[in-house]
Amino acid sequence: MTAAIVADDVSRTYQLDGVSVPALRGVSLTVDPGDYVAIVGTSGSGKSTLMHLLGGLDRPTGGTLLIGGRDVSTLSPDEMAALRNTTIGFVFQSFHLLARTTAQDNVGLPLVYRGVGRRERRERAATMLERVGLAHRITHRPNQMSGGEQQRVAIARALVTGPSVLLADEPTGNLDSATGQSVLALLESLVDDGVAVVLVTHDRDVAARARRQIVMKDGLISETR
């Protein structure tokens, strides 16, 4: 079984006005299929930077990072885009749904960049919305849905391409605790299906539900539980 993501001594340094600011200073970590990992840490600890790297949104300035078995340093921007499309699903704290666009078309968006036709996109999106319990919300727009429903739409969008890793950045941060619990339950059900779920959170209770916790501090992994 090949690992979904392998990070080996990965670092990321930003150049701000000519000054080098290290955000990650050598992080090694493996995410296997069906893994359930929480990355925790205070703001500025490097956990967001790590998530961007794991999701192929950014490239490391040092070390080796394999996503889906491919070394990201060898990939062109277009190949990175394709890698994100096929391998990674993102869930954000603020949902990032397109306003004025129905739940169905929001969920189908990643398939647009795969050249899937409109009818098939809508079919697959409908199936996915059904899976997250929103079959009755297919034609609703984000502003017609509750926060919990919007996050479920976002999860459906992340899953529609059949990714091997789902990266969730504070997925319950904008939700009340009951709604947050049900969203977490939905994410955990994916783990059973073999999807690796990586949660980034500063909420200890949320992190405690994961199988592994990685605590970030000053750009390094300070503790693994």
Binding site: H52, G55, L57, D58, P77, D78, A81, A82, R84, N85, T86, F90, F92, H96, L98, R100, T101, L109, P110, V112, Y113, R114, G115, G117, R118, R157, T161
Partner: protein
């Protein structure tokens, strides 16, 4: 991303901001409409003048003493009616040769007074030029050979002197000398800025006696066909130079007049189109400006699209199409507006306008090109956005 999908996304984005899209388009609409309308007016004016020159008659050759040159002083004419006999021998057909001696004269009928351009002419004038009579008859060969004091009035002059009464058979005085009205021309309007309805035609012999001169000012010859104009011109100028070795003679054809006028009007139309083109350019800058705002506004959307797999070129294409859609829609609306304006101007004002397909095609093409050119920078900027930065934008 499929192209059809990109069009749909661009259209949705424009629909989401209807007012802003309309206002942005307005710049392009006005620019294109201005180009189409002004070119139509320029073209219409050119056609009208060409029609006026051609309306004088066909295959005309005008012969005058001196050189035809802008700014040269008029030369006093050495031509007399004897020269016409020589020209008649060259042309071989008396009915194809017309002469003129012109003078501004006061014309009276009873208590009414008018100022007219008196034209001393031969009876051949209606066969050389296009001049139709409304009533009465034109001068005869006998009128010319005997110097009879008869006159044919322009429509405007007839109205000035006689109002609604029938002028035929009535007496008028031209420069104090009595003439009898035998005919009235059909209204002709202006040609080349001269009011043709204010003329009075009298026999050239009578005009010469009135003015106390033997001279004639100019000669017009109608060639049997277009191909003969050149040869005729050379032969006539040679015959006249033979008789008056000290004088230069110029012969101009309608084509030459049209050529000069056409060049001038072509330049004018070009200048008008260029000025209108500048407003189209300004419209394009407006499109660019709004597209940059649009990119900034939708930074989060761009970040998300990139996160789910959009390539830089997918994002760039989306914004480029948006700009092109703005300018081409504006271009089509501008063509309709400009075309409508031109038709209204043509219908409701004395200014003629003629729509040309090339000005419409040009304006549309330029507006589409403006969309591409001014859309590229915002599109590239959108395509290059770092998804991490874009997603963080609030």
């Amino acid at each position: 991303m499929r192209l059809a999908e990109a069009w749909r996304v661009a259209l949705d984005a424009l629909r989401a901001n209807r007012l802003r899209s309309m206002l942005t388009m307005l710049g392009v609409i006005i620019g294109v409409a201005a180009v189409v309308a002004l070119v139509a007016i320029g073209t219409g004016t050119k056609q009208q003048i060409e029609n006026q020159v051609e309306g004088l008659g066909s295959n005309l050759l005008l012969v005058v003493p001196g050189r035809i040159q802008a700014g040269s002083a008029p030369t006093s004419s050495p031509l007399t009616l004897d020269d016409i006999d020589a020209i008649n021998r060259v042309v071989g057909d008396r009915s194809r040769v017309a002469v003129t001696i012109a003078s501004g004269e006061t014309v009276r009928a009873g208590s009414r007074t008018g100022f007219a351009s008196m034209q001393g002419v031969l009876e051949t004038t209606p066969t050389v030029f296009v001049r139709n009579l409304d009533r009465g008859s034109y001068l005869t060969r006998t009128d010319v050979s005997t110097g009879r004091r008869v006159a044919v009035l322009g429509a405007g002059l007839a109205r000035t002197l006689f109002a609604d009464r029938d002028p035929i058979g009535r007496q008028i005085t031209i420069g104090g000398v009595r003439f009898r009205v035998i005919g009235v021309f059909e209204p002709l309007g202006q040609s080349l800025g001269v009011d043709r309805d204010g003329e009075v035609h009298v026999p050239v012999t009578a005009a010469q006696r009135l003015l106390g001169t033997e001279r004639i000012d100019g000669i017009a010859i109608r060639a049997p066909d277009r191909d003969r104009i050149g040869d005729l011109s050379t032969a006539v100028v040679a015959a006249l130079t033979d008789r008056h070795p000290d004088t230069d003679f110029s012969a101009v054809t309608q084509e030459q007049i049209l050529g000069v006028l056409g060049d001038i009007l072509g330049v004018l139309t070009g200048v008008l189109a260029a000025i209108a083109g500048i407003s189209l350019l300004v419209g394009g800058v407006g499109v660019s400006n709004i597209m940059l705002v649009s990119v900034r506004e939708r930074t989060k959307e761009i970040g998300l699209r990139k996160a789910v797999g959009a390539r830089p070129r997918d994002i760039g294409l989306q914004f480029l199409l948006e700009a092109v859609l703005l300018t081409t829609t504006g271009g089509i609306l501008g063509m309709l507006l400009g075309g409508g304006t031109a038709l209204l101007v043509d219908r409701l004002s004395p200014v003629p306008a003629a729509l040309t397909w090339w000005s419409m095609a040009l304006a549309f093409g330029v507006s589409a090109a403006v969309g591409i050119i001014f859309g590229v920078v915002p599109a590239q900027r959108a395509g290059r956005l770092d998804p991490v930065v874009a997603l963080r934008t609030e």
